[in-house]
Symmetry: none
Subunit: 227 residues, 4 copies
DNA sequence: CATGAATGAGTATTCATTCAT
DNA sequence: GATGAATGAATACTCATTCAT
């Protein structure tokens, strides 16, 4: 029961912070969404800001762990980056609320908490940077401004959280593959889509976030974006 | 004096809404930033929400006008999209606060205001969609999922507002050219950078936003992002 | 405790609204009078206007119920009106704050609440109108302008709330009897004072308003009005 | 022009204070109704409270003067009181806003201003008291509680300001005559309506308030109260 | 004569948080 | 574990009033 409540609070916070922003979400909103009184809320959380910080830290830790799992030991920089892109896109598609909170609510953090979060984010981006640099060093990638390109690709992939719908025409794998292809093109590198380990990415996302995924299952109907 | 104050309020709101979010910005913050008492603020604005809505509407109207100016009458879809990309990137680089407010604070709008803003955004995106569709129809572009690619590119370009610094190593033109190149690659289309009318984009941004631009001037020193 | 506070808030509101008017009473005044912080006030009320509307509605419902109790089943229109007058006067003497709020603060109500209150007031006045009309039809009453006379009598009786003091020389019964006599004279009808059921009126007032009445007890000393 | 504005302010204040109460009327409401900016308002008034006090004092002075004019030198107490009643009713019918402000907004006055106003009110009521006492002494009036009866009659007559409409079926003279009759009945004194000097009352009201009256002209159509 | 600009103090209401039960 | 009660501080916004122009 306690665990249940704790999770309900966490889940409510993620959804509300994503939808209305940290400052736009009141403690009463949280209580209502978690089916608890606002006083009871405080059995399961510290302050509202600690709740936010916990969500962000945990989300980034999961992303970082997942990224390590899908990129570690992959020698080919192209595949390494491809997996990173696929994972990032899948994560943002499957957990849009968590990722939007991470991406949009840093400003609401205290200086101390911000430091932690920014550090995690930097560690994560380093994986991308290393893959890109390695690809350039190996002559596989071609881009005049690696850092700019990295930022461009990260933003492109993070944007998925803002528009992807699981009820749309794309499966997770199709989505991830398309973005991996876009990334490779951006880096001047012909399609290696067939060699991506999408299943591994899916499995990792599923494990790290403890969610079930519909896998490669077909589309679920007309979504909010046309194709 | 009145005009001055009105503009100070608007400018303060843009900066604060961008930095701390609409709900994170108090009327006292606004007053302090505008060097006015909180009561005096109300000589120059309606409600706080109307202030936000005004900023968003005006920003989108300017973007839409600018986009029409740089894309209208450009027959080649590649050049048309290239100009749209360059303009979008320049706008987000030059006016990062306005564009971040537009991109991040829609949730704070009332239903009525939201409708207006979403309509403007849709009109704007239509210009991109038409250029991409025309490019595909003409055989110039190659992408399996035009709509997904469009969203990916838009997010990629909008992200510029989150990290670009005018004090960094890239000039506006270099930035815009790089993103145009990324877009063309994403659409499977060889570099046409040389034919982009970057000067026209710069002029339009400058006029529409009534700001002076450093033009193609060299880099200003080390920025917050490495290259 | 909760009930206590709720009642304290209601009682404070009645007294203050009566004395200084709705708009003249601040939320801080209410809080102070209810011995609560202004924030705590909101545990026991909705908005300030809902508090007012609740007071007015409840007061009118009680008055209407009481009037029905003392006039229902009384065949003789003279006695029926006499009882209505006695009840009205007693109510205004015993609950001057509630009745003054009802009589003076309608303008502070929102359109919706106003409708409800006016409807109740109309229902109540209908009892008077019916008794007067019946008395005329029966030849017991004689007045050229029944509607005008009704309004005149109502205002005359309501005025009691503005000047009567329980510490004055008149008991409730004496007051009520005097006004019943005035009403009968106004309707050209010889004194029937002896037949009025003042005790029933007193009992009904006492029950409906849940107050103890000194009954027919003698005067308590010199009051604010001379006799 | 100045005089015009001053009168517009006064007129606006009377109407608004009567309709929404002193505390319910903002300085901006006054400015709008007087077609002036809120700053300009202060060319024609002191503080808002002084404006109210001025209105109340002046209204009471006019009423007192008028009452003196219609009752002075009238030997018969029945006629004297009859004239006072007729004048009071006419005044409340013709100037409902002024009289309602006087009757309802005393609580908004400062202690000093309240003293003046209460003194004037007492002086005025003394005229009624003297007439009633004289009538009793002369054996013309019969009432057990002269003071209570006086208060009852005053409230009855003042109520006219709350419901009379000049567009209703009663002319001023009919209204005044009816109330004089009610008063006489209340005082146990047969009809002396025919001897009332209604024309004199009308003239005095007209002069004192500087208004034109439709005189005894017929009814203007269906009004808000039936007869 | 008229007003836009300005504001300190105030408005009603909500905030996140604590605590006794 | 759960919550009704409570509140100091904050919220967005309005008040009556002044004054320079």
């Amino acid at each position: 029961m306690a665990v249940d409540s704790r999770e309900r609070v966490r889940a409510a916070a993620v959804k509300l912070f994503a939808g209305k922003g940290f400052h736009g979400t009141g403690i009463r909103d949280l209580a209502q969404a978690a089916k608890l009184s606002s006083a009871s809320l405080y059995h399961y959380m510290g302050t509202k800001e600690e709740l936010l910080a916990g969500i962000m830290r945990e989300s980034l830790e999961r992303l970082l762990e997942a990224a390590t799992l899908v990129s570690g030991g992959v020698a080919d920089p192209r595949l390494r980056l491809g997996n990173l892109v696929a994972l990032h896109v899948m994560t943002h598609a499957v957990q849009p609320d968590e990722t939007r909170v991470v991406d949009n609510e840093v400003h609401a953090l205290s200086a101390v908490a911000k430091r932690t979060v920014v550090k995690l984010r930097d560690d994560y981006e380093l994986l991308w940077a290393e893959a890109i640099d390695a690809g350039i060093a190996a002559g596989a990638f071609d881009t005049a401004r690696p850092a700019v390109t990295r930022l461009a690709l990260l933003e492109m992939c993070s944007g998925v959280a803002r528009w992807y719908s699981p009820r749309g025409p794309l499966t997770l794998d199709q989505l991830a593959a398309h973005f991996a292809e876009l990334a490779m093109r951006a880096l001047g590198c012909a399609g290696i889509g067939g060699e991506l380990d999408l299943e591994r990415c899916r499995t990792v996302v599923s494990q790290v976030w403890k969610v079930k995924l519909r896998g490669t299952g077909g589309p679920g109907g007309a979504g909010p974006y046309p194709d």
